[in-house]
């Protein structure tokens, strides 16, 4: 089997179950200076996310096919080969205040657990971010994982400062999403950031904010491209 990494072709002369195994094979047998990142080998550390034929995949859980083209994630500065600089993840988490801001003592139950179960499965692999077409035109957009993380804290009954989360996601946040669903399709954990963003819009309205695109439309922008994609 042959695979291409950053346009260079490599032959894999061994049966491999995952793309990560193929990359380790290359490193240990033909090109030891090839650089890629990995950790857990079981889909939970998020380090090995790459693009395969243009789609985001975790190398440790993708089964490679002959002719696959492997590239680094989009939007993050490339460090070397398939390694990118994801340090901006943390700046985003900080910007959207993705944490429990003010603990409010509450007794939770199994329904409360279910409400945030999927969102808290996030492994921060950034597949959703790399798949998001909005980042291409607005690099300041908070993007899917940061908004899903914020959403998780806003619906946690223990959060005593919901509005603080809502306040920081108005600009370059929830209203900039086009609801194209690419993030949801890219997530290896089955998380649905698009729906979380829709829910955050509803929460924003409940907290006194309004869709700035509707505002634009009423004052003269009624025709033409609706960047918001809403109906």
């Amino acid at each position: 089997m042959n695979i291409e990494i950053n346009s260079k072709s490599y032959k894999i002369e061994k049966a491999v179950a995952t793309l990560l195994e193929a990359m380790i094979y290359i490193k240990e047998n033909t090109e030891p200076t090839l650089n890629f990142d990995y950790g857990c080998k079981s889909g939970v550390c998020g380090a090995c996310s790459v693009r395969v034929n243009g789609k985001e995949k975790l190398a440790c859980s993708y089964t490679p096919q002959d002719g696959d083209k492997i590239e680094p994630l989009k939007y993050y500065p490339q460090k070397r080969d398939l390694i990118v600089d994801k340090s901006s993840q943390k700046e985003l988490l900080k910007r959207v205040k993705a944490r429990l801001i003010s603990y409010n003592e509450q007794v939770l139950n199994s329904q409360d657990e279910a409400k945030t179960q999927i969102q808290s499965d996030c492994i921060l692999c950034s597949s959703c971010y790399s798949a998001c077409p909005v980042i291409e035109v607005n690099s300041l957009f908070a993007g899917p994982f940061a908004l899903t993380k914020t959403y998780k804290y806003t619906i946690d009954k223990r959060e005593g400062a919901v509005k603080e989360h809502i306040d920081v996601i108005q600009s370059n946040g929830v209203w900039d999403c086009t609801l194209c669903n690419e993030c949801t399709l890219a997530c290896p954990q089955g998380i649905d950031p698009k729906t979380d963003i829709v829910n955050l819009r509803n929460l924003s309205v409940q907290n006194g904010y309004m869709d700035p695109n509707i505002g634009n439309m009423s004052f003269g922008g009624g025709f033409g491209f609706d960047a918001n994609g809403s109906f």
């Binding site: 490193k27 240990e28 080998k41 550390c45 380090a47 944490r99 199994s110 657990e113 959060e159």
Partner: protein, 522 residues
């Protein structure tokens, strides 16, 4: 000059718990980690964290203490175990209040009473608090969210090369290789806390993140600190055959069976890991394949309690665990030994250097760790370690010059690194595995010495070189492998996870820790 009150090396659950605590006590704290924080081995913990909340069964810290001591084969220290088990309430309260999304029970009257608990091996009550089977992931990411938002700097891509000492022989910082600049740089600190995890990944078949290579322990040893009980390497009974993907103990805790190819159960599934791993190993030696049987638990319950397990089993073994048997084998999972520490978590032989989490041997696991006690140790001793480190006078910071030479030389054969790495990890698994004897241990030592890992060099630019990181890790692996084998040779008995075919009994004269220091490695 970069200088902080507290430098924490390692960004897993122990390190970040410690960092948040130190920050809350007003310290200027920084975390240095060789990879990215999300890659820490803690993220892979599945089953749960033991705290005797008694939410389902009658339970108490005393029962927890007694289970832990029993599992340790008389090697754990009662005071430290008591500190661990009694500290559980503060630890779980800390996690609840920073927002960890635990699994919940209905109808509770206080926040802690609502946390769901499950059975794990060796426990006399349902004691493990969990978040489905993603307990490590959800605790770690909540800690990352907290640390980032508290403005605790997490310096990623800093590989610890050695500890820095001042003229009074106190530790006053760490010397790092910076993956992003390719340069060597010091961080000075009043206190250093090592939370770099265990060294399970130096074995060929293991369930750990590839990052678990014991870098902090190697640095402690070289600086003059003492390591102990390295021979106690825990094999997890249930990893997927071939890929060694971990299938949590919760699978047995929720009622899963272990059966051989004739369909017979051959061991109490809720016994301790040392006993189960040995029983499985013996079946495999007789060419009887071993399986985990979850079919009778029912699809709905499995999907609710173990979503990750089902996904992993499907993905890596192409097996539907709700309908089919799952082929398993034991693999290295946890290292009970580590840096010897006193009751304040300060490393024996060093001043100003503390060690917490899997990296330390805080005398709470002895010869076998109970499932669910590692997360408890990481959080409880993480929190306590920060307080202790801030409780005494800080080391004097003296700026120094360094002449550390990276193992780089033009025209080196880069492939030699992988030949040596695979040889070392295979040797450990085959000759320093579940069942050991003197002849094989000596042979393993000889093989590893012949690999001459200290003389290996690479031909690559240092900046962003994963090859260089792998060689630095291999150098540490080699130090630890030799120390581990020497400890295993010394312990001429069988106890817990250390099983010798040539010394099969547990002996009273070995009811003590094995120790290794710098002088033992020359």
């Amino acid at each position: 000059m970069r200088k902080v009150d507290i430098l924490i090396v390692g960004s897993g659950i122990a390190g970040l718990s410690s960092a948040i605590k130190a920050k809350s006590l007003g310290a200027d704290v920084a975390v240095a980690t060789k990879g990215v924080a999300t890659k820490s081995n803690s993220v892979m913990a599945q089953g749960g964290m033991n705290v005797a909340l008694g939410n389902i069964d009658r339970d108490s810290p005393n029962l927890h203490i007694s289970d832990t001591l029993k599992s340790s084969h008389n090697l754990a220290d009662k005071e430290m175990v008591s500190k661990l088990c009694n500290g559980g309430i503060d630890a779980i309260k800390f996690l609840e209040e920073i927002g960890v999304p635990f699994s919940r029970l209905d109808g509770a009257d206080t926040p802690l009473k609502s946390i769901a608990q499950r059975a794990l091996g060796g426990a006399s009550a349902k004691r493990a608090c969990y978040a489905q089977d993603y307990t490590g992931l959800k605790i770690l990411h909540t800690l990352i969210d907290g640390a980032v938002n508290l403005d605790i700097p997490i310096f990623e891509g800093l590989f610890l090369l050695e500890l820095i000492k001042n003229n009074d022989s106190e530790v006053c910082g760490g010397l790092f290789f910076n993956f992003d600049s390719g340069e060597i740089e010091p961080i000075y600190a009043g206190k250093v806390i090592i939370a770099t995890g265990g060294f399970g990944a130096i074995y060929s078949k293991n369930t750990n993140s590839a990052t678990s290579t014991g870098d902090g322990l190697s640095a402690i040893l070289k600086a003059g600190g003492e390591l102990s009980n390295l021979e106690f390497v825990q094999f997890h009974p249930t990893t997927l055959k071939g890929s060694n993907i971990l299938i949590s103990e919760s699978a047995r805790g929720e009622g899963g069976y272990l059966v051989n190819c004739e369909g017979e159960r051959f061991i109490d599934e809720l016994s301790t890991r040392d006993k189960i791993a040995k029983a499985i190993f013996e079946q495999l030696k007789q060419n009887r394949e071993v399986f985990l049987d979850l079919r009778h638990i029912g699809k709905e319950k499995l999907e609710h309690l173990m979503p990750q397990e089902l996904k992993l089993i499907k993905q890596y073994a192409n097996t539907d665990a709700t309908q089919e048997l799952v082929a398993i084998e034991p693999a290295v999972h946890y290292t009970m030994g580590g840096a010897s520490v006193n009751e304040q978590f300060e490393v024996i032989g060093l001043k100003g250097c503390y060690c917490i989490g899997e990296a330390s041997n805080a005398n709470v696991h002895g010869a076998n760790r109970l499932g669910g006690n590692s997360l408890l140790e990481a959080v409880t001793f993480g929190l306590l370690g920060a307080s202790e480190a801030l409780n005494t006078t800080a080391s004097k910071i003296e700026e120094q010059k360094f002449n550390y030479i990276l193992p780089i030389a033009k025209d080196s054969d880069n492939l030699e690194v992988y030949k040596a790495k695979n040889s070392l990890s295979d040797t450990l698994f085959k000759q320093v595995g579940i069942i050991r004897d003197e002849q094989n241990l000596l042979k393993a030592l000889e093989t590893i010495e012949e690999l001459n890992i200290d003389s290996l060099k690479i031909d690559d630019t240092p900046k962003h070189s994963t090859l260089l990181i792998e060689l630095l890790e291999l150098q540490n692996a080699s130090v630890l492998a030799k120390a581990l084998i020497k400890s295993a040779l010394w312990r001429k008995e069988s106890r817990g996870a250390h099983i010798r075919s040539d010394y099969q009994d547990e002996l009273i004269e070995f009811e003590k820790n094995s120790t290794v220091s710098k002088k033992d490695l020359v």
